[in-house]
């Protein structure tokens, strides 16, 4: 069965109308992930975009057809570890899934995620990385690219923006020696479905999946170009797609002739003030990272 048929047949586990921004690619990611993971899934969404849009429910109503929790920003992995232990105890197989933003994974929730990874709790942890606390007003996070405008790193007279480089979080998680770690992009849905199916089959520990999702509202981009922006992030090697299985690295989409990073950067308002030198620095960083990744793939 090809991917289109699968997506057409699988039941959507999320409420048909959720108040995500028009054209939001995180909504696409969430629906695709939950379609593939299926009804035997318990998931948790910490505070963030997908919690705020009503997936975790409102009043006495739920936003999903499967059980959904709304944990704190910093205890997602620990709480789910307990749930998974209970279901193992009663002998029922369920996918226990976290769908967290970069704030809840890269910044605030990092220590409990790292702990769960080290203990080998059998969770599927999906992080949608939109480079900031987009739901509360576009504040900077540890995942924001250097130079980017955010509401806490304002740009005044063409000067400002974030001063520090982005954390390479998928690499940090890969170094936990997980049974499976992968990066995904909503522009490459067949690749995403394949990785999710692989993640569901893992029995030996935590699976970490990192999705790079350019945010339309916070970054300044039109809704039509939502998927185009995701695709450019992969084609410029800015957010390469790779997977790590028991320590062996492999490129999932190997871009032979990458486009210049400038093409991706110039799409968004939040990078509008960047000078040519700033973009060259980002290009250099991207080249260095992809070289390192290619070397890891040959090991």
């Amino acid at each position: 069965m090809n991917v289109i048929d699968k997506l057409a047949i699988y039941e959507d586990q999320i409420s048909p109308g959720i108040s995500a921004c028009v054209g939001c690619n995180v909504e696409l990611t969430l629906r695709t992930c939950m379609k593939v993971l299926g009804p035997d899934t318990i998931f948790a969404i910490p505070p963030g975009c997908m919690g705020g849009v009503g997936v975790v429910g409102w009043d006495k109503k739920s936003g999903a057809k499967t059980p959904v929790f709304f944990p704190l920003l910093d205890n997602v992995a620990s709480m789910l570890a307990g749930i998974k232990l209970h279901y193992e105890h009663i002998g029922r197989h369920v996918n226990v899934v976290a769908f967290a933003g970069d704030g809840a994974s890269v910044d605030a929730g990092m220590q409990c995620l790292s702990g769960a990874a080290e203990r080998g709790d059998k969770l599927i942890y999906i992080c949608y990385d939109n480079e900031g606390y987009m739901n509360t007003g576009y504040q900077r996070s540890g995942s924001t690219t250097k130079g980017a405008w955010t509401s806490t790193t304002p740009v005044i007279n063409g000067k400002g923006g974030k001063k520090q480089n982005k954390k390479d979080f998928p690499m940090i998680m890969a170094m936990h020696d997980l049974p499976y770690m992968a990066t995904m992009s909503p522009a490459y849905i067949p690749d995403m479905v394949r990785k999710l199916e692989k993640a569901m089959a893992v029995e030996s520990g935590l699976v970490y999946l990192h999705v790079y999702n350019p945010c339309l509202t916070g970054w300044g981009c039109t809704s039509d170009e939502s998927i185009e922006a995701c695709r450019l992030s992969v084609e410029t090697n800015f957010a390469p797609l790779y997977e790590v299985e028991n320590g062996s690295f492999q490129m999932s989409v190997d871009v032979k002739n990458p486009k210049p990073v400038r093409e991706f950067i110039r799409k968004f308002k939040k990078f509008r003030h960047l000078t040519d030198e700033d973009i060259d620095a980002l290009q250099e960083l991207t080249d260095r990272k992809i070289d390192r990744l290619r070397k890891l793939c040959t090991l």
Binding site: V3, I4, D5, L7, A8, D12, S15, P16, G17, I18, S19, A20, V22, G23, C24, N25, E27, L28, R31, I42, G54, G57, W58, D59, K60, K61, S62, G63, A64, K65, T66, P67, V68, F69, P186, I189, T222, S223, D224, E225, S226, I227, E228
Partner: protein, 90 residues
């Protein structure tokens, strides 16, 4: 608290929380079925899951929850989907 539904799990007792996102639309996608080559890109990339596959293999846009983002029109390789402005009375 009395639960209305029979679920044992903490799911909402009154069912699904649904926002009528179809009312947000300022333009709507219209598919030209003659030009469509049935590649399924619109179904794959629709964030609201509003494209349905019919039994004969063709695709149809369901307008109940479509937010009118324009991704389907942008991703369609054949240009078979056009975005049309929606009038207020619709």
């Amino acid at each position: 608290m009395k639960f209305i539904s029979d679920y044992i799990v903490p799911i909402g007792p009154e069912g699904l929380h649904i926002v009528q996102t179809g009312k947000w639309r300022t333009r709507k996608p219209v598919m030209d079925k003659e030009a469509c080559v049935r590649c399924g890109m619109c179904l794959m990339y629709c964030p609201v899951n509003s494209v349905k596959k019919l039994a004969d293999g063709s695709f149809e846009i369901c307008y109940d929850y479509c937010k009118g983002c324009g991704i389907c029109a942008h991703e369609c390789k054949k240009g078979a989907i056009k975005m049309v402005p929606v009038k207020e009375e619709e």
